[in-house]
Every structure is written in structure tokens, then in C-alpha cells.
């Protein structure tokens, strides 16, 4: 089969940014998908409107790479939910991704505000 374009996707989010946000969210402790989506929305002061469904392929990928692990648990209001937690490899990845993100922000900043040099 020819290469297929991914359906859905990160929409407005920069490629890889969603991964970073998910990892960052999980630093605070295990969480299920719904609460991760809400945390990202609230944390970004409602700026980043994640299409919640697009979170799951990202979670699937992160789990496959061994950066997060999952388990079934019970939510605050007594519903079954799948929880994710950060693995040690995930913590290292978060650090690496964070510093790469900072580099990117600085680089874009240099271009946008050359006067401030």
C-alpha cells in the first residue's frame, strides 16, 4: 500500500508538541486520558483546544516507545478508567524534549525580535 496520510492528527499543535505536553502532565502523577486532555486545556489557559480523540494515538505511541505505562484503575467518580504513568525512560525523554522545546522557542524568538539582541 502507498503511504497513507494520518487521519485526524495534532491539528494546530506543532508536530511532537502533544507528546511533550502529555509527558509534562504525567510528571504530576498518574492520570487517565480524559484528565490529561483537561489538564492540557486548563494548563494552557484554554488556548490549546485539543481534539480529545487525537490524544489516544499519541498515548499509544508513547506507550509503545516505553515512555509511559498504563494500568486500569477507578476514577474519582467511581468509573473504570485507564491510567498512565511516566516511566524512568519517559522522565529522561521529557527532559530532552523540554530542552529541545526551549531551544526552539529561543531560536524563533531571535528571528522574531532581532532588535533585542
Amino acid at each position: 500500500m502507498a503511504k497513507r496520510t494520518k487521519p485526524g492528527g495534532q491539528g494546530d499543535l506543532l508536530q511532537g508538541t502533544l507528546d511533550l505536553l502529555v509527558l509534562r502532565t504525567l510528571v504530576l502523577g498518574p492520570a487517565h486520558g480524559y484528565s490529561i486532555a483537561q489538564a492540557i486545556e486548563r494548563g494552557s489557559r484554554e488556548v490549546l483546544q485539543v481534539e480529545q480523540g487525537s490524544l489516544y494515538p499519541a498515548l499509544h505511541r508513547l506507550e509503545d516507545r516505553g515512555w509511559i505505562a498504563s494500568f486500569w484503575g477507578t476514577s474519582e467518580n467511581n468509573r473504570k478508567a485507564k491510567y498512565y504513568r511516566l516511566t524512568p525512560a519517559g522522565k529522561r525523554q521529557l527532559a530532552a524534549e523540554t530542552s529541545r522545546w526551549e531551544q526552539l522557542v529561543r531560536a524563533v524568538g531571535h528571528i522574531l525580535y532581532p532588535a533585542e539582541e
Binding site: 500500500m1 485526524g8 487517565h32 484528565s35 480529545q52 480523540g53 494515538p57 478508567a81
Partner: protein
């Protein structure tokens, strides 16, 4: 994603579905808490989530590995196509399995003969001890590998330092029967260390040890092979301690070797092994232990750790002068002695054992492998041709798929999947066929007196070979059509409509394939005709005697205990009795039955007319009784036959053949001339007077040049042996005749052992390899020709179907049928001539390699090549005439309407 997720992707899909459902439930709960109606709450949650099915699909694809899925789908698709074309599938699988099976069978034989090591511990450490060059040795030679004398063996054993252990052995047939017709076991004389050096441990009882191999040991015990144990003792443990009768000497069975141990000779299996020292019991006064000119042993050594065969060889060479100095045969003349002292020992890798079968069959097997390889190549070309035709029929389909965005690689893979299935089916069937074929070949090479034993259990090399062939053939016949079919641009193919592209790349390739098929099959046909005509030349050759109705009877008198002085009288008595048998036309004594493999030669000097001696020349010898030439049907050309005048006490006489007279006596009448046989220092020499001249006969083999032969009188033998051999001419059936002979001999003495051999059968058996070669090469030549003709027929039919339109127009314009036939045949003739011309060149270049296997004709024999060309051209034209006639039968209106 990895295989784990791929194999469990259904589970993962369900897991994600559960998770998404949980997510939606949580979001719905929250919306409810905000006071929405249940429907609105669910709808809002879904809105916020997006499309769950799409998310699941995305994850499902993330979990997919595309190639195994596609490969499986391609294979299924291929299998469906093959099922839809059962005729094509059958032809393809059959021709492939025949090709692969034949190749694998020959390879299996080569593997068993050439590539396998002896079934002993660490065979790579074994090295064979032999004399460099081995030329110009004189003396008597016994066994199949007469490399060393017993005296040399003793010296090597005592003085070598290269091996942690050395062994010597010699093959020997033992007669198991107490009297009457003989029954043989394959025996070995082995040195005491034989089994220890090889690392063979007994399956039952014990093996011989070094202490048992001492001069004067008598017959301390025999070790038997597993198969002999099963055959003679039904595998019973009571075999240990029971007695075997070997040439009339009882010996105790002390042990049985493991099932996989067949000795050190590849191609045979041993039955009984006794120590070397026991040879004295069988040889008696003639024992080879003390005969320094008796060559009968072969030796192997196990290299010390860190020693290579080269180093061992250098060591053996260094100790050679001392060894040969200490073992000079007493009977040697001075010139022989000086040659003997110059001999050098060496060591060569010996892990694959000894094998005369290997030496004799290796070349024919390689030639056969080349032949079967070419047949497989032709079969592949044929399949490629068929697949190309199919691919061009599918041109439109493939073009549409390309236009719809399928990648070329994807289509090629799909087309290859079909070929891979065919190749796999062909290989599986071929592997099974190879088992039958290789066993059939071994069985047809074996004769009553020469059983062949080869370990033919397929091993990883054989399976690897077959798998390699399958992949190679698949690529050969699958790749070109697949690449060709997907090369055309979709637009062009679609525009050309259903007729395909006239003169597109595919049909040029098909012509090339047919031309190479014709060329290769001509080569195979030439080869087949060469082998067939060689065999014919040999089979119809005038050997100088009439082979039909001749029986040879070999008698072993050793156990009859006749006093030496009576032996000649006993032999005369036996001759009389055999002659008197009903149905026997004539009978005579003979020492060496022609073509039996035995030979006897010696240097002679012609007694010069002026008293001075001529120079020494080599002649073959035989010793015969009166009536021998009449019995054989060999005409006496001058002088007289032996008769009762030629007794032990009268002057020695001889009869010579034409070549003898021509070579040594300038072709003048030999009767009355005299010659001397050169003898060693301790033997008495005699002057022989020639009393007769006979027609030339073959001596050792049908293939040899005619040699000079001197026949001596059996009645004048100074030391008559305890073996007597007779030839009888009789029209009676073999069974009746042998029964009568057995009865007559038993009347003289029941302890006399007898062995029978039909002379014609024996000669026939010497031609076994030639006959097999002729048979197999004709079969494969026929097969190759058939395949090439199918290919030619296919290409011409295809051309006709493409030109139907053109033919219709021509006929509408007034062309008659003959013109149309000629039009089509012109193409066939062009293809055939190019193919045949290439084939002739190929034959001239490559048949030289088999020249040593031919007899009575040259590899570039013009008659053979002409015959092969005529056959192929004739059949090829016939194969193309069928489609040409069909083309001429085209109704012009039909053809034009089809446009």
C-alpha cells in the same frame, strides 16, 4: 511498531475502544453534573472527542506491519490465479519439480560421495599416508587401495611422530559358505588400532585392540557391522561369541559397530573386520605379511594436535629414506631397487575416506549436474515465456492499477508471489522426487559383485541446495516477466486497447528466451547423441570373441586339500568332466577371463635370430588350456592350439595375438620364434617358443587399445595354484548349466568352492556407467527439446494471435493460404536458425569437456551435430506449422470484424 503489537492488534483495538468508552463516560458524567440532559451530555462529549472510529483506525494502522499482510494477500491472490489455471499450474509445477528433482538427486549423490566426512570422531584430523606419485611400483597388487606393503606399514607405525595414532587396512572378500557355490561378505583386514584411531566405539561387545594384532595371532576374533549383524544374526545379542566361517576358517564374533559406521570406504559398507595379522591364516604360504613386493594396504593417521597434513607430510618425507631402505623387496632387480629407494611418503587430508566410486563417478556426476542444470534453465525459460504471455494478457489490468496509483514495486511483488508459489511447489515435489531418483541411480550402478552403499539421508546441504534452486528459479522465471509487464506506461497500454502493444518489450524478450532454449536444447541433444553413440560403439564392439553363451566358473580348491603334485591332474580331470556335461559344447581352463578386471603383465625379451636378445618390452599374459580359443570363438590364424604334447616336462610353448606379432616381430609369422619372460633374481627363467597366432582380443576393458597378449599353457605351470577357472560354451540356460557344473565339481570334491559369472553379463556390467549416461542424457535431451518446442510453439501462436488482423487484411487483398503459412513460418525459421547456430557454437565449445567419457568418436563429431540439428529443426518446424496453419485458416471477415 513491533511484531508484538502487530500480532495482538485486534486485542489492542478492543482495549482502545474500552478506553475511549471510559473517556466518553467520564466526560458525559461531567456534562451531566453541569445540568445537561443525558442526550445532550453524551453529544457534547462526543463533539469534544472527535470521531472515535477514526481514532481507533489510526491506532489500528499504527499497529500494522504492512509487508506480512501484503505478502499474505499476494500469496492468496497468487494461489487463486494458479487454481484458476490448473493446466498452466500443472505444467509449471511438473517441469519445475522434474528439473529441481533431477538436480537435487545428482547433488545428493555428489554430496554423499564428495562432501561428506567419514562417520567417525573428528574426521578433519585424519590424514592419508601414501607414496608421492605412486608410479613405477612393481610387485603384486591386491585390494582396491594397494598403497603400501606390510613391511612399510610396520616401519611407518614404529617411526612416525606426526600422528597420535595410525591405522592400516585392506579390503578383502570372504567366502561364508562351507563348500559349493560361494557366498561373499565384504571384509576388511584392519590394524589393531583401527577402531581406536577412528574413535569408533562398539554398539555391542568390544572392538579389536592393538594387542590382538601381532604376528602369529591366528584368528583372534571378528568385529561385524551393524547391517551384517541384522542380516546374519537378526540383531540378536547371542551373535557375540558365535562362530563365523570365513574362507572355511572359523572365527568368533567379538563385537558389533554402530549403525552409521560403514568403514573407511565411501560407496561401500563392510561386513566383517579381522586383524591384519590374521592374513597369515588366509594367505598360508602366500601370506602378504612377509611378501615385501606385495602392495595391499592403505593407511590413515590421526594428526597430533596442532599438526597440519602438510607438516605431517614433510615429516613423513624426512623419514622416508630410512623406511624404504629397511623394506627393499628381495626379488627386485637392481634398477627396481634404485627406483624403490627414491620413493617418498607424504600425507594428504583423509577425512573423506577412500573411494574408488568417487574417482570413477565424480566426473560423470558433474556432467550430469551440468545437464540437469541446463534442463532446469530451459524449464525456467519456458515458464518465463508462459508468464510473459499471461502478463501481456493482463497488460490492461496492470495499466489500470498503475494509473490508480499502485506502485510498480507493489505490482512486481504481486506477480512474483505467484512465481514463488510455483517454485515452492516445484521444489517440494522435486525434493521428494530426488529421494527416489538418487536411490534409483545408486541401484542401477550396483551389480551383483559390486554392491554400492551410500548414505543418502538428506542433510542441510541438500536442503539448502534445493531451497537455493527454488529461489533462483523463481527469480529466473518470475522476475523478467514481472518487470517487463509493469514497465509499459499506463497511458500507452490503455490506448492500445485489448490487443496489447504489438512489438512491445515483452515479445522481444520472448524471442530471446526461445532462441536460448533452442540453443541449450541443441547442446543437450548433441551431448545425448554423443553418449548414446559412444555406448553403441562399445556395446557392438568386436572384442575378439563371442560373448553370448559363455559361462565362467571359478573354483577354489584350497579346502579340498589336494597334494601339490596332483593339482595339474585334478585340473585336467575337472576339465574332462565339464566338457562331458550335457549341453556343453566346449570348455577350457583360463587364468584370466577377459574383461573380468584381473590382469597380468610382464617384461619380455624376444630371442633374436642371431642369438642376441632384443630390448625389454611389456606384454600382457594369460594362461589357458587346450580348446580355450575354440570355446571363446577366437579364430586361430596360424600354427596350432595347445594340446597334450604340451605337458609340464616338454619345452615351454606360447600362443600370441596379432598385436604381439605386429609390435614385437614386425608382423612376420611368429610361429617358431622364441621369447623370454624377465624374472627377478631368485626365479628361474624360461624360453618360450611361439606355436600359434590368434586374432586380437580385448584384455581388461572394451575401451582399451588392443594390447599384445601372450598365452601360456596351463599344463606347463611350474607352480599350479589352488584356484582353477574355466570357461564353458553352452546354449543351455544359466540355471541348468550352473546346477550341472556344481554337481560335477562336487563329485570330484564337495569342499571345492565355486563362483559363476556369465561373461556377457560381466561385460555388460563394465558398461554400466556408459549405459546410464546414455540413458539419462537422452532422457534429459528429450525433455529439453520438448520444452524448447513448447516454447517455440507458444511464441509462434502468440505472434499469430497478434497478427490476426493483418492476416485478415492480407487475405482480403488476395493472399492465399500458402503465402500466410510462409509468412508465419518465416519467423519460426528465423528463431530456429539463430538458436541452432548459437547451439552449434555452444556445443563445439563445451563438449570437449566430456571427450574422456566418449568412445569411438570425437566431441565435435560432425555427424552427431548434424543429426541433432536436423532433429531439432524438423520438430521445430512441425511445432510452428500448427499455428501457421491456424493462421491460414483465418476467415478474413471474422478477423476484420474483431477490430
Amino acid at each position: 511498531m513491533g511484531w508484538g503489537r502487530y500480532l495482538r492488534r485486534r486485542w489492542w483495538d478492543e482495549e482502545r475502544a474500552r478506553e475511549i468508552e471510559a473517556h466518553l463516560a467520564l466526560a458525559t458524567d461531567e456534562n451531566l453534573a453541569r445540568g445537561m440532559t443525558p442526550e445532550a451530555a453524551r453529544a457534547a462529549a462526543l463533539r469534544k472527542f472527535g470521531n472515535p472510529a477514526r481514532v481507533r483506525e489510526e491506532i489500528y494502522f499504527m499497529n500494522s506491519l504492512s509487508w506480512p499482510e501484503n505478502a499474505l494477500r499476494d500469496l492468496r491472490h497468487g494461489a487463486r490465479l494458479l487454481r484458476l489455471n490448473p493446466g498452466f499450474t500443472l505444467v509449471a509445477v511438473l517441469s519445475l519439480s522434474l528439473g529441481i528433482g533431477a538436480n537435487a538427486a545428482i547433488f545428493q549423490l555428489l554430496d554423499a560421495l564428495r562432501l561428506r566426512s567419514l562417520p567417525v570422531a573428528k574426521p578433519q584430523e585424519l590424514a592419508e599416508v601414501r607414496i608421492i606419485g605412486q608410479t613405477s611400483r612393481t610387485g603384486s597388487f591386491n585390494g582396491r587401495y594397494p598403497q603400501l606393503t606390510y613391511a612399510q606399514w610396520e616401519q611407518i607405525r614404529e617411526h612416525q611422530e606426526a600422528f597420535s595414532g595410525v591405522l592400516a587396512w585392506s579390503a578383502q572378500r570372504f567366502n561364508l559358505s562351507p563348500g559349493g557355490e560361494e557366498r561373499y561378505a565384504q571384509g576388511m583386514f584392519v590394524s589393531g588400532d583401527f577402531f581406536r584411531v577412528l574413535g569408533v566405539t562398539p554398539a555391542l561387545g568390544r572392538v579389536l585392540n592393538a594387542d590382538e594384532d601381532r604376528r602369529g595371532c591366528g584368528l583372534p576374533g571378528a568385529v561385524i557391522s551393524h547391517s551384517f549383524w541384522q542380516r546374519e544374526f537378526q540383531g540378536s545379542p547371542t551373535a557375540l561369541g558365535s562362530k563365523l566361517l570365513l574362507n572355511g576358517h572359523p572365527v568368533e564374533v567379538i563385537g558389533v559397530t554402530p549403525p552409521n559406521f560403514f568403514g573407511v570406504e565411501v560407496g561401500r559398507t563392510y561386513d566383517v573386520a579381522v586383524p591384519l595379522c590374521a592374513e597369515a591364516v588366509f594367505g598360508g604360504t602366500d601370506s602378504r605379511l612377509d611378501r615385501r613386493q606385495g602392495w595391499w594396504l592403505a593407511a590413515l593417521g590421526r594428526l597430533k594436535p596442532g599438526w597440519s597434513p602438510q607438516r605431517a607430510g614433510a615429516h613423513l618425507e624426512a623419514i622416508s629414506p630410512a623406511i624404504f631402505e629397511a623394506t627393499v623387496p628381495e626379488t627386485y632387480r637392481p634398477d627396481d631397487v634404485s627406483k624403490y629407494l627414491g620413493f617418498k611418503l607424504t600425507a594428504v587430508p583423509g577425512g573423506s575416506g577412500f573411494s574408488s566410486l568417487r574417482a570413477n563417478s565424480e566426473r560423470p556426476l558433474w556432467v550430469l549436474l551440468a545437464i540437469t542444470g541446463l534442463v532446469l534453465l530451459i524449464a525456467c525459460a519456458n515458464l518465463a515465456n508462459l508468464l510473459l504471455a499471461r502478463a501481456s494478457a493482463r497488460e490492461r489490468e496492470l495499466a489500470i492499477r498503475l494509473a490508480l496509483g499502485a506502485s510498480r514495486g507493489r505490482l512486481v511483488r504481486q506477480l512474483l508471489a505467484e512465481s514463488l508459489l510455483l517454485a515452492a511447489l516445484g521444489a517440494a515435489l522435486g525434493a521428494a522426487l530426488a529421494q527416489l531418483l538418487s536411490r534409483f541411480l545408486v541401484a542401477s550402478l550396483a551389480t551383483q559383485g559390486n554392491q554400492i552403499f551410500l548414505d543418502l539421508d538428506p542433510n542441510w546441504r541438500v536442503f539448502g541446495f534445493i531451497a537455493g534452486l527454488a529461489i533462483l528459479t523463481c527469480l529466473l522465471f518470475g522476475l523478467t516477466p514481472a518487470l517487463g509487464a509493469t514497465r509499459t506506461s499506463p497511458g500507452a497500454a490503455l490506448k492500445a486497447g485489448g490487443r496489447g502493444l504489438a512489438g512491445s518489450g515483452g515479445s522481444g524478450l520472448r524471442r530471446l528466451l526461445v532462441v536460448s532454449q533452442v540453443a541449450l536444447s541443441l547442446l543437450l541433444l548433441v551431448g545425448a547423441l554423443l553418449f548414446v553413440r559412444s555406448f553403441q560403439n562399445l556395446a557392438t564392439l568386436d572384442a575378439g570373441f563371442r560373448r553370448e553363451g559363455l559361462l565362467a566358473a571359478s573354483l577354489d580348491l584350497r579346502r579340498a586339500d589336494f597334494p601339490a603334485e596332483r593339482l595339474l591332474a585334478v585340473q585336467r580331470d575337472l576339465t574332462e568332466r565339464l566338457r562331458a556335461l550335457p549341453g556343453v559344447e566346449s570348455a577350457a581352463e583360463v587364468a584370466i577371463v577377459p574383461m573380468s578386471g584381473s590382469a597380468w603383465n610382464n617384461n619380455i625379451r624376444i630371442d633374436g635370430s642371431a642369438g642376441q636378445e632384443g630390448s625389454a618390452t611389456l606384454s600382457n599374459f594369460n594362461q589357458v588350456g587346450p580348446g580355450y580359443f575354440r570355446t571363446m570363438g577366437t579364430p586361430l590364424l596360424g600354427g596350432r592350439d595347445f594340446d597334450e604334447r604340451d605337458a609340464a616336462t616338454s619345452p615351454k610353448v606360447a600362443i600370441v595375438n596379432e598385436t604381439f606379432s605386429r609390435r614385437f616381430l614386425n608382423g612376420a609369422n611368429p610361429v617358431g620364434r622364441r621369447f623370454r619372460i624377465e624374472v627377478g633374481p631368485k626365479e628361474t627363467d624360461h624360453l618360450y617358443e611361439i606355436i600359434g597366432l590368434v586374432k586380437d582380443t580385448k584384455y581388461r576393458s572394451l575401451r582399451e587399445e588392443l594390447t599384445p597378449i601372450a598365452f601360456l599353457a596351463a599344463a606347463q605351470d611350474d607352480e599350479p595354484g589352488r584356484f582353477a577357472q574355466f570357461v564353458l560354451r553352452s546354449p543351455a540356460s544359466l540355471g541348468a548349466l550352473t546346477a550341472a557344473v556344481k554337481k560335477a565339481v562336487a563329485e570330484v570334491n564337495p569342499a571345492i568352492g565355486i563362483q559363476f559369472q556369465s561373461v556377457q553379463t560381466q561385460i555388460w556390467e563394465t558398461l554400466l556407467q556408459e549405459r546410464l549416461m546414455a540413458m539419462l542424457s537422452s532422457f534429459f535431451g528429450f525433455l529439453a527439446g520438448l520444452l524448447a518446442m513448447i516454447g517455440l510453439y507458444g511464441v509462434i501462436s502468440y505472434a499469430v494471435s497478434r497478427r490476426t488482423n493483418e492476416i485478415g487484411i492480407r487475405m482480403a487483398l488476395g493472399a492465399d493460404r500458402r503465402v500466410v503459412v510462409r509468412l508465419i513460418l518465416r519467423e519460426a525459421v528465423a528463431l530456429l536458425s539463430v538458436g541452432l547456430a548459437a547451439g552449434i557454437l555452444l556445443s563445439l565449445a563445451s563438449t570437449k569437456m566430456v571427450s574422456s567419457m566418449l568412445f569411438g568418436l570425437q566431441p565435435y563429431d560432425p555427424v552427431t551435430i548434424g543429426l541433432a540439428v536436423a532433429i531439432l529443426a524438423g520438430v521445430g518446424l512441425a511445432a510452428s506449422y500448427l499455428p501457421a496453419r491456424r493462421a491460414a485458416g483465418v476467415d478474413p471477415m471474422e478477423a476484420l470484424r474483431a477490430e
